[in-house]
């Protein structure tokens, strides 16, 4: 790959040993490096919360995938974040079953409680709300995921409790 003639001056960052180890592991699973690009983006996101330009360039360099191609992949997929997100990401199902079961009122409750709508992050960087296609849990609609936790049969009222529970867990974590 050739050298970028860049005007912005963004430089690749150093990948961490953990990131490199995980990327190296993925490289054993696929016959070519390009296939690992998306995996590497996810790995970096897992560690950094999102994929910055510096991270993207670092992966590009490490895997020898042109930055433009990697960007093409990163921006194609819904779950690769090319902008900073909050500490917790709410994946909010807005597909048809959840819609029928009233997800819009839940969305309104989140807006009221946290002050964020789709694509927004709370001022304290705690939550980012992202709409997703059907989460495949339609018999429990409406549903949303907060990080890896699935919350089912949501009602506007339940939002308070869910947020409070995360706050408690967070506070305890800090105390410990």
């Amino acid at each position: 790959m050739s050298e970028m003639i860049a005007t912005s001056g963004v430089r690749p960052r150093q990948l961490t040993p953990e990131e490199i180890a995980e990327i190296e592991h993925e490289m054993t699973l696929y016959p070519d490096k390009k296939a690992v690009g998306l995996e590497a983006l996810k790995i970096v996101q897992k560690h950094q919360g999102w994929v910055s330009d510096e991270s993207l360039l670092a992966i590009s360099r490490y895997l020898d995938i042109p930055a433009a191609d990697l960007e093409g992949v990163a921006t194609f997929f819904n779950l690769v974040y090319r902008q900073p997100v909050g500490k917790k990401v709410i994946l909010f199902c807005r597909s048809v079953s959840c819609w029928i079961m009233g997800c819009e009122s839940v969305r309104a409750a989140i807006r009221e409680k946290l002050g964020i709508d789709y694509g927004e992050t709370t001022a304290d960087d705690e939550y980012t709300l992202i709409p997703v296609p059907c989460l495949g849990d339609c018999d429990n609609a409406p549903v949303m995921m907060v990080d890896e936790d699935l919350h089912r049969r949501l009602t506007p009222e339940k939002i308070d409790a869910i947020v409070a529970a995360y706050k408690d867990a967070n506070d305890q974590g800090k105390g410990a």
């Binding site: 690992v36 690009g37 992949v73 997929f77 597909s95 048809v96 059907c134 339609c138 018999d139």
Partner: protein, 426 residues
């Protein structure tokens, strides 16, 4: 004999069976049959004879699909099996149940399929949000490897199989098998032209079979218990059982394994407990977001590929979405249009540029800004984005609820325009 081969081990109140428990429940029989000398040709023949059709939505005969993979001398050495576990069809929640509830069933099915087509590497392309399924599958794969059911020279058969779990990063189009292959290769998940079909030139240009999770979960039973048993399962023309789901305003939404050919009414009224109090059935999408609406008058039809097809819809994923009389059909279709429009990969023109226009019209209709002429634009798009005109099946899928919605609920569309608002108060 077993009548619910797909879900017999599933009990969501406990963790899924581990390998030993799964085997104790007569699991991995098909693998042992292979070890005892069942040839890959035999497996292929048996699956062909079973009449199994793909459960991902398209309903293509599985054995026939496999038979297109080049076999024998001179065929490419490397072949791949890929599991389409990227369940993202709106209103569809069946594969999640199988993977979270009985991961070894899928692995056993994969072993059968890989053996039949001669694949030594299999990828599971799993939806990124399915973290519970991911954990269950990782554990099961590790157990199977440990036991020697995966790896090199499995049970002395000379057959090698490595299963690699790939988690995706969220994109409906990856459910399209060729788009999925591009995603696995680390590319943008645009679909590929067919022909050439993946069976000939698939993953990294090598012969590849892409099967849905549920399809593969049928295989242990077919090989383990035989076709006579398998053919006895059905109540209708198509063979086997299938997962059927119901979501929407019913008393008991859920997912059940039923014989194909079960009446729709039984699914809706017995299994799902009928409509919630205070609402009436207005219509339903029989198999996920890309199927045509059906009406209450169709309830006595059977859940069978052909029968559902006879009224212009498709059985597809078999997961039904219920429209009740208090829910705005325009809003429901509009919701689907937002989904399809956002999930278009952006490759071909009708899908990329047609869907956003349609979506925008729905937003205007809901906001009371709809115009009479918008309806013609919508109708034109049903034709324009239909089968054969787009690069893949995504936009034609969108035209299913759109076209049938316009046909069955025309008055609702007109009321949005004449009343200048959503009559359902959205």
């Amino acid at each position: 004999m077993v009548t619910n081969p797909l879900t017999k081990n599933i009990d969501m109140s406990r963790p899924p069976l581990d390998l030993n428990a799964y085997e104790a429940a007569s699991g991995y029989q098909s693998l042992h049959k292979i070890a005892a000398g069942l040839s890959s040709d035999d497996v292929l023949q048996q699956v062909k004879d079973s009449g199994l059709k793909g459960r991902g939505g398209a309903g293509f005969p599985t054995g026939l699909k496999w038979s297109f993979v080049p076999r024998g001398e001179g065929s490419p050495k490397q072949k791949y099996l890929v599991v389409n576990a990227d369940e993202m069809e709106p209103g569809t929640f069946k594969d999640r149940l199988l993977m979270e509830g009985d991961p070894h069933l899928l692995i056993e099915g994969m072993i059968v399929a890989a053996y039949a087509i001669g694949a030594s590497v299999a990828y599971i392309f799993l939806r990124g949000e399915y973290v519970v399924a991911e954990r269950a599958l990782r554990k099961a794969i590790a157990e199977a490897k440990e036991k020697g059911y995966l790896g090199r020279d499995i049970l002395g058969t000379g057959f090698d199989l490595e299963i690699i779990l790939h988690t995706s990063a969220g994109r409906y189009i990856c459910g399209e098998e060729t788009a999925l292959l591009n995603a696995l290769e680390g590319k943008r998940a645009n679909p590929r032209a067919k022909p050439p079909f993946p069976q000939v030139s698939g993953l990294w240009g090598k012969p590849t079979i892409v099967n849905n999770v549920e399809t593969l979960c049928n295989l242990p039973g077919i090989i383990g218990y035989g076709n006579e048993w398998y053919h006895s399962l059905t109540k209708g023309k198509d063979h086997g059982t299938k997962l059927f789901g119901v979501s929407g305003k019913v008393k008991n939404p859920g997912c059940w394994e039923l014989p194909l050919g079960t009446p729709i009414r039984e699914l809706l009224e017995v299994r799902a407990g009928g409509m919630q109090d205070g609402v009436q059935l207005r219509g339903f999408l029989p198999g996920g977001g890309s199927t045509d609406f059906m009406l209450p008058e169709h309830l006595d039809l059977n859940l069978d590929y052909e029968e559902i097809g006879s009224v212009g819809s498709r059985l597809a994923t078999g997961t039904m979405i219920i429209l009740d009389d208090k829910t705005c059909p325009v809003g429901m279709v509009g919701n689907l249009m937002t989904f399809f429009s956002h999930e278009s990969c952006g490759f071909c023109t009708p899908c990329r540029d047609g869907l956003p226009w349609v979506d925008q019209i729905f937003k205007d209709l809901e906001a009371g800004k709809g115009k009479e002429s918008d309806l013609q634009v919508l109708l034109d798009h049903v034709d324009y984005m239909g089968p054969g005109k787009t690069f893949c099946a995504l936009a034609p899928g969108a035209t299913a609820p759109l076209g049938s919605g316009l046909k069955y609920f025309e008055d609702d569309f007109r009321r949005h325009i004449s009343e200048g608002k959503c009559p359902y108060g959205n």
